[in-house]
Symmetry: C2
Subunit: 393 residues, 2 copies
């Protein structure tokens, strides 16, 4: 049978990263491609104790249907941790932050509408936007965030822009952080052009130096920012808990959308997160995982020094997050590097996977430092340096 | 700010049932509205032991990212339980069966396409279809399943029908089961008109008498049936585990869609279900919950006898599932009954909530017998009988 697919998904391809992950998940591969938290960053003892307690004291609450908006005490706790003045009604629990992208696009976009994104950007979100048949426009990333002048050009030229997608902190994949000045300009432009902002902040807590910069949402006096948060990077991604914070009319519609998508997120997961946030020392845990990842970042930077000195690549050291974006010189092709690395059992992602528009000029690789063990990091970067040498001759 | 919503969600309303549930979830209300499993039907001891073991032996597998298709050993086990010949590649794990509806519609339907459904039908699925801007056509339910002659009329008259939605076993809300004869006719018609079938089977294991009837999917020699299964009614809904079984090209596209929706379903939930299916006596557990629900159904039927004898309502006793559909005579209005019952702290759902098309002539209420305790059932039906008496005079 010849299956007729909807226009919006017909040309949709699986995430290149998740395909690379499948291809390189055999034992022996050095994983510099994924964005998995380090196993030692999971608070396993806490999760074990909390699960036992929950299933002892209130098993039915963990197993029974819940309301679509999410577990009320968890919504309260999540809101209290943010630098944002809002009420619990403005926040819903989602099945990971990915679902915020899904619900926001579903609620806001007709096919053919325009979404503006930093370029490069997180392929998972880009694919969600694409899955609703929107047209993507990319704004080049700079070391202090998106190029606001290009953003303004696009806003001036495009009708039907529905929202601007940004990851202001330790952006995936570039590692860049948007300055406060640019956050304010972004906000002012969005307001001027009557466009919403979708602010995705999965890495905000993974800050390895410097001070936190206020979220774009914290500037939102006009109800134009949708904020996506996640527990994936500070607690665990496998349990799928994220949240959306947005103006009430949008939260109400996203709730109806979520009802139609998956009814509600896992109650067991939600109660687990709630109990963890309520009874454990979250600040101490975050300090601990910052130390783990800062050390890994530094190990990666050290391992890349020879290649940098030889002119094989260049990068801006990220102040947080999980990724290093390495631009390659013209004579070294990114696909060639990815393939050569794979032959040496090292998995890296070509920068093209994160392109917003097909025409975006990208010759880069993205490296992840959270997934590999420290010995894997050292070995992987030695191999990568060898590969770069071979490719450049 | 005036928020511009997408056409497909602009007119979408929250599920009437979930709203009724919120309104009637105060303590003291007798819950005949929801479809929650009975607390005593959860295998709490098993879940407790399995969770402890999983978090002791392989915590990282529970907490780390997984692949979008789902946990492979669970996919194998789920397939092995079905009366369907297929390979594991034809099956993906979803965040509840609700997500099967979401992904199937997303993959198959453009706005304006037609979906045919039994009428009345499960509001959760109908709202999912609506959330993609499809046009719904309803086929009246009869005691042995949908009216196949009307189905044929619709298929003859409508272009762009993408699929036929059916709950063949103990349908929600009607309680009716489709005969094998009708399943075969449905299949033959779908094949003849080149239309897919979306078979939703959340209640199949909740059979209180008679023999199981082969699934429509088991008749599928031509790759035209998408099958949705769920763990919500036999294990627990709160952990959100369902699955889709469909031809490979559709599963492949649904997987890409799921990647964009929520990346994957909770790994902890998936491992929990797998371990439960692998190590526990599932058949004995299902026999136990059948006994629980059969007794509740019979208690409900006994409690309705006076109202039936007085001509206040009539129903077909369902051979399985969780619901009783009560048609009301013309002189008793369903909304009046729902409101009068609520005043007496009894929650029931008006049949109109399950209408496929606004013009469907429905004057009925749906009663659920799994959620209330047995004393609540008796008390609730006494109050309902009083309400019916009052409304009919």
């Amino acid at each position: 049978m010849n299956y007729l697919l909807s226009n919006k998904v017909a040309s949709l391809a699986p995430s290149a990263i998740r395909e690379i992950l499948k291809a390189t998940s055999q034992p022996g591969f050095i994983p510099l491609a994924a964005g998995n938290p380090a196993p030692e960053a999971f608070p396993v003892d806490d999760v074990r104790a909390i699960s036992a307690r929950l299933l002892e004291e209130r098993p039915i609450d963990c197993l029974q249907y819940g309301v679509t908006e999410g577990y009320q005490p968890l919504r309260d706790l999540l809101l209290a941790r943010l630098d944002i003045a809002a009420s619990t009604d403005d926040l819903i629990i989602t099945s990971g932050a990915q679902q915020v992208m899904d619900l926001a696009t579903k609620v806001l976009c007709n096919e053919g509408d325009v979404v503006i994104s930093e370029s490069p950007s997180f392929i998972g979100s880009l694919n969600t936007f694409r899955s609703y048949g929107v047209r993507l426009r990319g704004v080049p990333m700079q070391s202090d965030g998106m190029d606001i002048d290009v953003l303004e050009d696009i806003l001036r030229g495009e009708k039907n822009v529905r929202f601007i997608y940004t990851i202001p902190n330790y952006q995936n994949p570039s590692g860049a952080t948007m300055s406060l000045t640019k956050r304010k300009r972004l906000y002012a432009l969005a307001l001027q052009y009557g466009v919403l902002i979708l602010e995705d902040n999965p890495y905000g807590d993974l800050r390895y130096e410097g001070d936190a910069i206020p979220s774009v949402k914290s500037l939102d006096k006009d109800g134009i920012v949708l904020y996506a948060g996640s527990l994936s990077k500070i607690l665990a991604p496998g349990i799928r808990v994220g949240y959306a914070l947005a103006p009430k009319p949008l939260i109400a519609k996203m709730t109806v959308g979520k009802q139609a998508s998956d009814v509600h997120s896992s109650m067991f997961s939600q109660l687990l997160v709630h109990e963890w946030m309520k009874t454990c020392d979250i600040a101490a845990h975050i300090a601990k995982i910052r130390d783990i990842y800062r050390a890994k970042r530094d190990l990666m930077c050290a391992g890349l020094q020879e290649a940098v000195d030889a002119g094989f690549l260049c990068y801006n050291r990220p102040a947080g997050g999980l990724f290093l974006w390495c631009d390659l010189p013209r004579q070294i092709g990114m696909i060639d590097i990815v393939q050569r690395a794979a032959k040496k059992s090292v998995a890296v992602v070509p920068g093209s996977a994160f392109a917003v528009e097909a025409s975006d000029p990208i010759n880069a690789i993205r490296l992840n430092f959270s997934t590999p063990t420290n010995p894997q990091l050292t070995e992987g970067l030695q191999k990568l340096t060898t590969v770069l040498k071979e490719a450049s001759t």
